[in-house]
Structures are given as structure tokens and as C-alpha cells.
């Protein structure tokens, strides 16, 4: 039974609208078959596992099984590098995350994200201006022309990649993104090699940059990570590499989808788009509701219990693989009234879109700001935008779900 469900979650046919499948899943909050992963689909169960210290995020605690169809594809390419804090447990997780957070957020750097506002606005305006210059307004691919390039530029600025190197960075990021989004028809070994090569190149580039920042530190994140002398000590070059690889991939892949899913949802709800156009302040509740309604990370597939646990009446053995279906929890009617309604006015919105607990999205403040600025500017500047394909073509990836292209048209671009 569950194997069928797992296959259905992976199945591309469900990509455009996985929600009926999730509704079906929630009838059994915790489900499993012979030796596949345990799938957790209801809000409270997911929430409690995210705060459960008996649950490990370190893959080395997983009992190897053959029944996990994501076990392969979810190698997020850190094979050559030590695991980033995303895949570690405390105390190593806490230490690395704390050190990474020092130059990024409160209490030590409360202004980092806020101070990027002007820069982000500049990138957004530049990209929207570029749409006019491109192939005309009859058919715009919002993904290629906007949502893809935006977060990479932001990560470059954040890390301190020199502007002249940004184009190379974009190429690497695209290749890595493609490797996370396997084309079932492509030769896997070929793809694997391609992404390994890219990883090497990117790693070498970053290592060079880190060396250079150790000598000439600036105010960027890499400089801080490379030179920081904190109560937790200093990061090794390998640790900085896996941390920056994490920031690049996680900060990129998710924001692309948040913005694209966001624009798609707004085009499907023109009255909300109109409200956003009139009041950019609406971007705040809209993005929050989007994180619930169409979360860019649909599920967390890599956790496992350190001990036998009981959840939702099911006993899960030590080392089993858990899939926490965040997007399903976000639509759990036991938690949210009218969960399938996109309603930016709902006040009570403790969604799982950015996770929860110690692994809750590190980049959340930046992701929120990026999405708010992007959506409010698109709403303001695009004149009469129309969706050309509904549903648009989706990416293969079931975990980081979003449209591969978002073809739209518009009548003009306001200054």
C-alpha cells in the first residue's frame, strides 16, 4: 500500500497538484509498508517529530534500506564534503549553525538581512527591466527570466562573490539545480559525473575565494566565516565549503519555487494580486500564506529515530527512514480552517513551510524578504499579466516542487 503511495508522491503525474494525494494520505497519519520509509502526513504528528530529540537528521543513523526511492536522488551532492549542518545533529549542528548565524542574523548581526533590502530591490528592478529588453511581452518565462537568476545573485552578494564572477556562479548553480531535478530519461551516471565535476569546480573556486578573504576580509559572509574567532572556535576550510554549498543550494532552490509558486497562485487569484498591487504591505501576509499553501519544500525525507518511538499509534523502529510531508501537514483540516483556500487574511498561520525545531529554515528571513520584494514588484510593474498555461510544466523534483517554466504574457511593464 505505502510503496504505492511513495511511488505516487514521486510520480510526475501528481506534480502539478499533489494535494488530493496528500488528502488521501492524511487518512492514515503514519503509514508504511514492508521496509520502506514511514510517511507522516498530519500536522501535529509532523510538528511533534520536528521537536523530538529522539529523531536524528544525520543520515549515518539511517538503517540502509532498499525501499526508499529518495535515498539516491536526495544525496544533495555533499558526498565530497563533510555533511553540512542540515544533515547533522547537536552538538555539531548547533555549533556550525551558530557560527554561520553570527554574520547573518541576531544577536550578532541583526541588520544583515535588513540592510540588503536596497540591493535586493535593485536586482529585482534590473531583472524586470530586462524582461522588456528580452523576447517581448507575449510570452515571458518568469522562471528563466526572473525567479531563477534572482536568488543566485542574492547568494552571490551575501557570500561576497565578486560581481565579475557572478556569471560563472550562475552556470554552476544551474547545473547543480538540474542535478537535483533528475530527468528520468537521462543517463544517471552521466548526470552524476556532470554534477560532481561542477561541485569540484565550485569547491575549488570557493576555496580560492576563502583564501583570498582570509588575507583581505570584507563585510561579506565568507569573510566572516573565514576569519571569525568565536566562542565556538573557527570553521575549517572544509566546514566553510560545505556551509557555503548549503547556503547556495538551499537558498537558491527554495526561493525560486517560492517566487514562482507565488506568482502562479496570485495569477490564479487575481483579486489578491490586485490587493497586492494597491498595497505592497500585503506581501507580508501573502508570503506567509504561500509558505503554507504552496511550500517550496514539500517534504523532509532524511530523518530517523535513534530509538524505537511511537507516533500516531504506530511503533517505528530505530533507524527507520521518516518522510515528513510538510505540504500535507500545511493542509491538515485538523489544524487549519478551510486549508485548501488561499487566504492571506487568515490570522492563525503556524505553518510548516519553513520547517520547525532546530533545523527550521536558516535563511528564512532572507527568503521571506526576497519573496516579498519580488512579488510586490511583479504585481506593481506587470501590466495585466496573464497565465498562458495552467498548470504550467513542473520540474521533476517531488521534494523541491515548483514549475520549471511559468509562461505568462503582459500588456506592458510599468516604470
Amino acid at each position: 500500500m505505502t510503496q504505492a503511495i511513495l511511488r505516487e508522491i514521486i510520480d510526475y503525474a501528481n506534480r502539478a497538484d499533489p494535494y488530493p494525494l496528500y488528502e488521501e494520505l492524511r487518512k492514515t497519519p503514519v503509514s508504511q509498508d514492508s521496509d520502506g520509509p514511514y510517511v507522516i502526513s498530519t500536522y501535529y504528528e509532523i510538528h511533534s517529530l520536528l521537536h523530538d530529540p529522539r529523531i536524528s537528521s544525520d543520515r549515518r543513523n539511517l538503517t540502509p534500506t532498499t525501499g526508499d526511492p529518495l535515498a539516491q536522488t536526495e544525496e544533495d551532492g555533499e558526498t565530497a564534503l563533510p555533511p553540512s549542518f542540515l544533515g547533522l545533529d547537536p552538538p555539531e549542528h548547533d555549533r556550525l549553525r551558530r557560527m554561520t548565524n553570527r554574520p547573518f542574523g541576531p544577536p550578532h548581526s541583526p541588520h544583515r538581512v535588513h540592510d540588503m533590502r536596497g540591493e535586493l530591490k535593485g536586482i529585482v528592478s534590473g531583472l524586470i527591466d530586462g524582461i522588456v529588453a528580452a523576447d517581448g511581452l507575449d510570452r515571458i518565462d518568469l522562471v528563466d527570466q526572473f525567479s531563477y537568476p534572482f536568488p543566485v545573485s542574492v547568494i552571490c552578494r551575501l557570500l561576497g562573490v565578486p560581481p565579475e564572477d557572478e556569471p560563472r556562479f550562475h552556470v554552476w548553480a544551474d547545473t547543480l539545480a538540474a542535478s537535483l531535478d533528475p530527468d528520468p530519461d537521462a543517463d544517471p551516471s552521466q548526470r552524476h559525473k556532470g554534477s560532481q565535476d561542477t561541485r569540484m569546480e565550485l569547491g575549488m573556486y570557493l576555496a580560492g575565494l576563502i583564501e583570498e578573504r582570509r588575507k583581505n576580509p570584507g563585510d561579506d559572509m565568507l569573510s566572516h566565516l573565514a576569519t571569525a574567532d568565536t566562542p565556538d572556535g573557527t570553521m575549517t576550510t572544509m566546514e566553510i565549503l560545505s556551509t557555503s554549498a548549503l547556503l547556495l543550494i538551499a537558498g537558491h532552490e527554495t526561493t525560486v519555487n517560492l517566487i514562482t509558486n507565488g506568482m502562479l497562485t496570485l495569477l490564479r487569484h487575481p483579486e489578491v494580486l490586485q490587493r497586492l498591487r494597491e498595497d505592497p504591505g500585503m506581501a507580508v501576509p501573502i508570503v506567509e500564506e504561500l509558505l503554507r499553501y504552496e511550500p517550496p519544500v514539500q517534504l523532509l525525507p532524511q530523518r530517523s529515530p535513534l530509538t524505537e518511538i511511537e507516533i500516531g499509534g504506530v511503533t517505528i523502529p530505530k533507524g527507520a527512514s521518516l518522510w515528513l510531508i510538510l505540504a500535507s501537514g500545511n493542509r491538515d483540516p485538523k489544524r487549519f480552517d478551510h486549508p485548501d483556500r488561499f487566504d492571506p487574511d487568515r490570522g492563525d498561520i503556524q505553518h510548516l513551510g519553513l520547517g520547525s525545531g532546530i533545523h527550521s529554515c536558516f535563511g528564512a528571513p532572507l527568503a521571506r524578504l526576497e519573496a516579498q520584494l519580488a512579488l510586490s514588484e511583479l504585481a506593481r510593474r506587470l501590466e495585466n499579466p496573464q497565465l498562458l498555461e495552467d498548470p504550467p510544466p513542473y520540474r521533476q523534483n517531488a521534494v523541491l516542487r515548483g514549475p520549471r517554466h511559468l509562461p505568462i504574457s503582459c500588456d506592458g511593464i510599468r516604470p
Binding site: H51, P53, R54, P91, L306, G357, I358
Partner: protein
């Protein structure tokens, strides 16, 4: 349900009076309006200010990062109330359903909510307490005055009492670079609230931040100079501490004196009420028109042996106010119990401390995650073989899990494996709370299975 329409009349044009215009009072008022109460609402408060938030007073305000007049509580909605601010309530006529005010006015009610909270326990010697430079910290005015005196750069600050507030004040002083001495009667800071095992960690925290921490001592006298300014304090061990600012941080007293003689079950331990926030009268009989919420309330809790709990916790004040408000506008089966699991937070010396449950009930403690040496850990308290409370230092994201253990009366010591379990987490220790009969700075949770009013009664059982 009596079904005679009286509830509808109450909701439409009843008179509701709230005494105590602070956190619990405001949240209750907002909830009542949300629930469709359209009658008249009177908010009585002895302070001249609209409701403001207290936790920042010992944190951001003392650091000069926020000013005391900028801590107004955010409003969830308009409450359209008659505000009677700067006037204390001085009496209650239960039969006539009126509240008497200090200015001689009387306000009639159909439903009354009492949320008068607590006040800082003053320095016992009134004359010494009146010296210039001696402070307590409870109100916005206290916060502003203390901040001003810290900004003036005193040579040394003395904090008397190392409970949460005292420790936060010491932390703020250190962050401002001010020399500070802390005198505590118990063996460590926070012992009353969290016990000796955690108290030791707190003591280390004070010491690494160069607080001059003196434990196991009492301040016996404050000494002023001829101009009436405090200049020194004398300790029970014979030492003298020269300080030009002294903060008395000895816990709190419930604001119930105004109810003396009213017949309500109100005394120094607070106002006893049922789990639905309805106040008891002195006979232990529940009233149906008087409700209680916040720091001033004592209510029985199923999870903790139905003992009466008085909590000085922000979150409790909000939750209890919402329940009280709901019940004030409901009847019979529609009423809800206030089954809040006590939860508290503090921040001091850069560490975020949180607790759930009732630590002082615990007899044992086990460090389940992290390490005390690193001051980052989670610990659970055990009581008669079950988990009764938990505390975290910079590990608060795990707290919902521990709360669940408390709610499900999970066995103590917990046997399961967790991330970040260290060798020290393999054995339970004695939690080491001071003898409750010895007063410390006040634990922020008081447990008392005691009669509703602290009134001496002669009990003469009927003879058959």
C-alpha cells in the same frame, strides 16, 4: 443552561468591569469583544498608563535599548472601554455587585474580572527602603527610574535577591559595564525556581560575567549618607558592600488587600478560583459573576495533583485571561477549563532560559541533552517516577517535546536515546530545592493546597 435569554442580554448590554488594567485585563477585554460582547466595559487601573508589557523592563529597558514608555502592549483590536486609570479599586461589595474606587466612585457590574496582579515586595525596613538610590522593579515608572540611575554610571550596584528579575538586572548591569554585587539568601541564583543543580550553572554564569555574587547571605541593613542617599549595605556575614544603587528584588506580593472583608476568597496567596477562573468566596463556594486571571489568581491543576498554582508567568496571564473572558460570556457546558501547562522564559547573560511544568515540585533532575558546562542543555525534573517539569538553557526548540512528556505523565527518568546525550545525562541527581519554609526571592510558581482565604476560621463540625 437556563435558556431564559439572560446570557444574550448580558452579551448585548451587560456591564463588565475589569480591575487591573495590564496584560491579563487587556487580553480578557479584547477576547470579550471578539466574542461579541457589546455591552459596557470598564477598565480600572491604579497606574496612570494604558496597559504595557513588563518583561522588557528588566531586559531591553535596563540596557537602554527601549524606553519604558515604549513598552505599551500591542492591541489585538479596539476594545471600546471606559478607562478609569490612575484610580485604585478599594473595595468590593459582592451582594450589591459594585466596585468601590479610591476617588469615592462606585462602578456596578454584572460580571467582574479581577486581574490585579502582584507588586514588588518592598524592603522590609521602610526608612531604609525610602533612601535615594533604592529601587524595586515592577512598574514602568520603576523601570524608567532605575534605567536613569544606571545611565548615570553608579560606582556599584547591589541587587538583593537572585531570582529571575534580580539575575536579569545583574546581567543588564554587566552588559552596561557596571560593577554589580548580588546578594542571595539561598545557595545559588534561581534556586527557588529551578533548584540547586541548575542554580550552580546560574552561579557560574554570574561569575564568568564578573558579577560579585554572594550567596548564603542576607542583607541586614542599608545605610544612607547624611543627604539621604544610599551608600552601603551590611550583610549577615559581617561584610559591607558600598553601592550607590540598590535594587530590592525579593519577589512579589499579591494585590488582594483591597478585597479584605469582601467575602471573596482572597488573601496573601492570591485569589482562589476554580479551573474555569470563577473566584471562590471565603467558604470555598464558587461565585458565578466574579472571575480571576493572571498573577493574582490561584487555581487547581489536574496535572499537578489538583494543587492550587499561582503563576507569575506572562503566557499564563494571557491564556487565563482568554479563558476567563470566554467563561464570563458562557454558561454550563460551554465553559472551558484553564489547563495551561506553566511555561516561563528569561534571558540573562546572553542565555535564553525556558521552563515548562512545575520545577519546584521536582525532587530529581536529569540532564537529557547538552551539557551544563557549556550552559546549553535540556533537563527534566522528576516527581514520584514521572516527568513534572523541564528547563532549557539555549535549547528551547526542544521544549514542546518535554511539554508533551509532562502532559502525558511520562516516566522519570526517561530511558530513551536523544541527540546530544552526554555522559552526565545518564544519572538522575537530587534537584536540590531549598526547604520551602525558608523564604528565598520567590519561585514564580507557588503551589498551595490551602484554604481559599487566609482567614482564621473556627471549624465546628455539626453534632448528630
Amino acid at each position: 443552561m437556563n435558556g431564559d435569554g439572560s446570557l444574550e442580554r448580558l452579551k448585548r448590554d451587560g456591564r463588565i468591569v475589569v480591575v487591573g488594567a495590564s496584560l491579563a485585563g487587556l487580553r480578557a477585554a479584547e477576547t470579550m469583544r471578539e466574542k461579541g460582547f457589546t455591552g459596557s466595559l470598564t477598565m480600572i487601573g491604579d497606574e496612570p498608563y494604558e496597559p504595557y508589557d513588563r518583561p522588557p523592563l528588566s531586559k531591553q529597558v535596563l540596557l537602554g535599548k527601549a524606553t519604558a514608555d515604549r513598552t505599551a502592549l500591542p492591541r489585538r483590536r479596539d476594545i471600546d472601554a471606559k478607562w478609569r486609570l490612575g484610580v485604585p479599586a478599594t473595595g468590593l461589595d459582592m451582594a450589591g455587585r459594585r466596585v468601590r474606587l479610591a476617588d469615592g466612585d462606585e462602578v456596578e457590574y454584572d460580571r467582574l474580572l479581577i486581574a490585579t496582579g502582584v507588586r514588588a515586595r518592598p524592603w522590609p525596613n521602610e526608612e531604609e527602603g525610602a533612601l535615594d538610590g533604592v529601587f524595586v522593579l515592577r512598574t514602568r515608572d520603576d523601570g524608567a527610574a532605575l534605567e536613569r540611575s544606571l545611565a548615570a554610571g553608579p560606582r556599584r550596584v547591589l541587587v538583593i535577591g537572585a531570582g529571575f528579575t534580580g539575575s536579569e538586572i545583574a546581567s543588564a548591569c554587566r552588559e552596561r559595564g557596571l560593577p554589580v554585587t548580588v546578594a542571595e539568601r539561598g545557595n545559588a541564583p534561581l534556586v527557588g525556581a529551578l533548584g540547586g543543580v541548575i542554580g550552580e550553572v546560574a552561579a557560574e554564569m554570574h561569575r564568568t560575567h564578573e558579577v560579585d555574587l554572594r550567596t548564603g547571605v542576607m542583607v541586614t541593613a542599608l545605610e544612607g549618607d547624611p543627604s539621604g542617599r544610599v551608600r552601603a549595605a551590611h550583610l549577615s556575614d559581617g561584610a559591607t558592600v558600598e553601592a550607590d544603587v540598590v535594587v530590592v528584588s525579593l519577589g512579589a506580593q499579591r494585590n488582594t488587600e483591597w478585597l479584605a472583608g469582601s467575602g471573596l476568597g482572597a488573601g496573601p496567596r492570591g485569589i482562589a478560583c476554580d479551573a474555569g477562573c470563577r473566584a471562590f468566596n471565603i467558604w470555598g463556594i464558587v461565585t458565578d459573576d466574579i472571575y480571576v486571571a493572571g498573577d493574582v489568581a490561584r487555581s487547581p491543576h489536574a496535572l499537578f495533583g489538583y494543587q492550587f498554582l499561582s503563576l507569575e508567568h506572562w503566557g499564563n496571564a494571557v491564556a487565563q485571561a482568554e479563558t476567563a473572558a470566554h467563561n464570563m460570556l458562557s454558561e454550563g457546558m460551554d465553559r472551558r477549563p484553564h489547563v495551561w501547562v506553566p511555561a516561563f522564559w528569561s534571558s540573562q547573560f546572553g542565555v535564553n532560559i525556558k521552563s515548562v511544568g512545575v520545577p519546584p515540585m521536582g525532587t530529581e533532575i536529569l540532564i537529557t541533552q547538552g551539557s551544563r558546562d557549556e550552559r546549553r542543555f535540556a533537563a527534566v525534573y522528576g516527581y514520584q517516577g514521572r516527568v513534572i517539569a523541564a528547563v532549557t538553557f539555549d535549547q528551547c526548540r526542544w521544549l514542546p517535546f518535554y511539554q508533551h512528556l509532562i502532559e502525558t505523565t511520562a516516566p522519570f527518568p526517561p530511558q530513551f536515546a536523544t541527540v546530544d546525550r552526554r555522559p552526565e545525562g545518564h544519572k538522575a541527581l537530587a534537584a536540590d530545592f531549598p526547604d520551602p519554609s525558608v523564604p528565598t526571592h520567590g519561585p514564580t510558581i507557588t503551589l498551595s493546597g490551602y484554604s481559599p482565604a487566609d482567614r482564621k476560621m473556627t471549624f465546628t463540625p455539626a453534632r448528630h
